[in-house]
């Protein structure tokens, strides 16, 4: 097992995937806890579909993919987090509308321009081969920024997640921190999309936090534990995918399902 692991590390593209992947996993796990508790578990799904549509448009226009999809996804995240508050379309319905709408737009654009090319289908199901050197640099910078912002505003993000009306009433700028959460989420989703694929990225947001929430009693330990779960599942998923030649995204999600099942059983035994 050790020899196949070191063999895996001898491929530069796997090193690239691991570098960016671990960083994205950390970001997704950090934000995931807040999103799940704010009842926005599906936001990853919604945003990644919007990401797919914006990438299709970027290819059609010959524009830089990330330069188009990051701002579009941030705008979509704003819309979703705002919609939940005072619109007649509730959060879950808004995400459902956005998912199917964006997917439709993306598919239309693709079929009207070039037809399904490989790049686009990589985005749908994820591929670790999709990482170029520039992607790695951008990925490292952006995820470092997400982590830094999260740590700096950790206490306020906690307060806003736990009780939004208390925070607003006592003079905390809730809107600002909600916008921050939306922006960080959008950036994380766009970065993670390439590797996990549009269809699997939301599991990166939801699974580690859900597992951690089952066994931890403090918010801080939930956050830390979900980061650990996320990274461990990611690395073992990549390894499994390398050894058995199965898709990366799917094996990472499978690892997460396994951890969730184990935690579920542990908690059931503890409760008895």
């Amino acid at each position: 097992m050790l020899s196949s692991f070191s063999e895996m590390l001898s491929y530069p593209f796997i090193i690239r995937a691991l570098t960016v992947g671990i960083l994205v996993c950390v970001c997704a796990a950090l934000l995931g806890t807040n999103l799940v508790l704010k009842r926005y578990s599906m936001i990853g799904d919604g945003l990644s579909h919007v990401g797919f549509a914006s990438l299709a448009i970027a290819y059609a226009l010959n524009a830089a993919p990330l330069a188009v999809s990051i701002p579009v996804c941030i705008a979509a995240a704003f819309l979703l987090l705002r919609l939940g508050e005072n619109s007649k379309i509730k959060g879950d319905a808004a995400i459902a509308v956005m998912c199917s709408g964006a997917l439709a737009v993306g598919v239309m654009v693709v079929s009207l321009t070039s037809g399904m090319n490989t790049d686009i289908s990589n985005y749908m199901f994820g591929s670790i081969l999709a990482m170029s050197k520039n992607d790695v640099i951008l990925g490292v910078i952006l995820s470092a920024a997400v982590m830094l912002m999260y740590i700096l505003f950790y206490n306020r993000i906690f307060a806003v997640t736990f009780d939004e009306s208390f925070s607003t009433a006592t003079g905390i700028k809730t809107g600002l921190y909600n916008a921050l959460i939306a922006t960080l989420t959008a950036v994380t989703i766009v970065l993670g999309m390439r590797m996990m694929g549009t269809l699997l990225i939301s599991s990166l947001v939801v699974f580690p936090s859900l597992s951690a929430m089952r066994i931890c009693k403090k918010f801080k330990s939930v956050v830390i534990f979900s980061v650990i779960i996320s990274v461990v599942c990611f690395v073992s998923g990549i390894y499994f995918s390398f050894v058995f030649s199965v898709p990366t995204g799917a094996s990472i999600v499978s690892a997460n399902i396994l951890v969730f099942a184990i935690v579920f059983v542990i908690q059931k035994i503890k409760d008895r």
Binding site: L37, K38, R39, I151, L152, F153, Y154, N155, R156, F158, A159, F162, D163, S165, F166, S167, T168, A169, T170, G171, I172, M213, C216, K217, K218, F219, K220, V222
Partner: protein, 236 residues
């Protein structure tokens, strides 16, 4: 000096007016209970006082320079909080955030303040426990501790005794009058329980569907409205 004034305030949801032309003022150190009929706009008024909802007419103001960072608030519990993984200490500490300008982390003073409030409310022994595993009464105390951390001048409470048994309710009222007297914090409470309100509060704001009453608890007892709702018997 008036901590909070309410000038000809009306509040509405769309075309539906729930509060019509209300005026009153509260001085520092007062203990005001807002009571009234269902749908008369008690919770809406509280939202207005907290700045969570804008009045459709009139305005709230303060000649005392009250800022939102001087306010503590005990909201009704939301369903999302029921399964929130957080320790009691984490919840209480988050109340101190409104005295921060820019510093991202809790200071020693914040922790001392949180510990002091935890002690005041007698939840020391469950300090490290998980909020979602506490009983309703314990959760209410924890949220009150958080509100006290945030409150420098005024504390607003939204039906704080809902779901508490009679013994706990009595304890809770005692705590609140302690806070009012010993800390000199102005208390504004929305309540269902008119009898306790009249006994505990210094002032009563009664919101009816057609008429309002504002005055001291004594005046309310002697008024027509008060006699009707307290069952005609003046309380000892």
């Amino acid at each position: 000096m008036a901590v909070l004034e309410c000038h000809n305030v009306s509040m509405s949801y769309g075309k539906n007016t729930v509060l019509n032309n209300l005026s009153f003022s509260i001085n520092a150190g007062d203990y005001l209970c807002i009571v009234g009929e269902n749908g008369a706009g008690k919770s809406t008024l509280l939202k207005g006082l907290l700045g969570l909802k804008k009045p459709s007419q009139g305005h709230f103001c303060s000649s005392d320079g009250l800022k939102s960072t001087d306010i503590g608030y005990l909201p009704q519990q939301s369903p999302a909080q029921k399964d929130f993984p957080a320790s009691v200490m984490e919840v209480v500490l988050s109340g101190t955030l409104n005295s921060h300008k820019f510093s991202p982390f809790y200071t020693k003073a914040d922790k001392n303040r949180a510990n002091e409030m935890i002690k005041t409310l007698g939840v020391e022994d469950i300090k490290d426990e998980c909020y979602r595993e506490l009983s309703g009464g314990q959760q209410q105390r924890v949220l009150l501790a958080r509100a006290l951390c945030a409150a420098k001048k005024v504390i607003l409470l939204d039906e704080p005794t809902t779901g508490l048994d009679p013994l706990m309710t009595k304890d809770f009222y005692k705590l609140i009058s302690q806070i009012n007297i010993e800390r000199g914090i102005t208390v504004i409470m929305v309540s269902h329980d008119i009898n306790s309100a009249v006994n505990e509060a210094s002032h009563i704001l009664y919101l009816g569907n057609n008429s309002h009453f504002f005055g001291t608890a004594q005046e309310y007892r002697e008024s027509e409205l008060g006699k009707k709702f307290l069952g005609g018997e003046p309380l000892a």
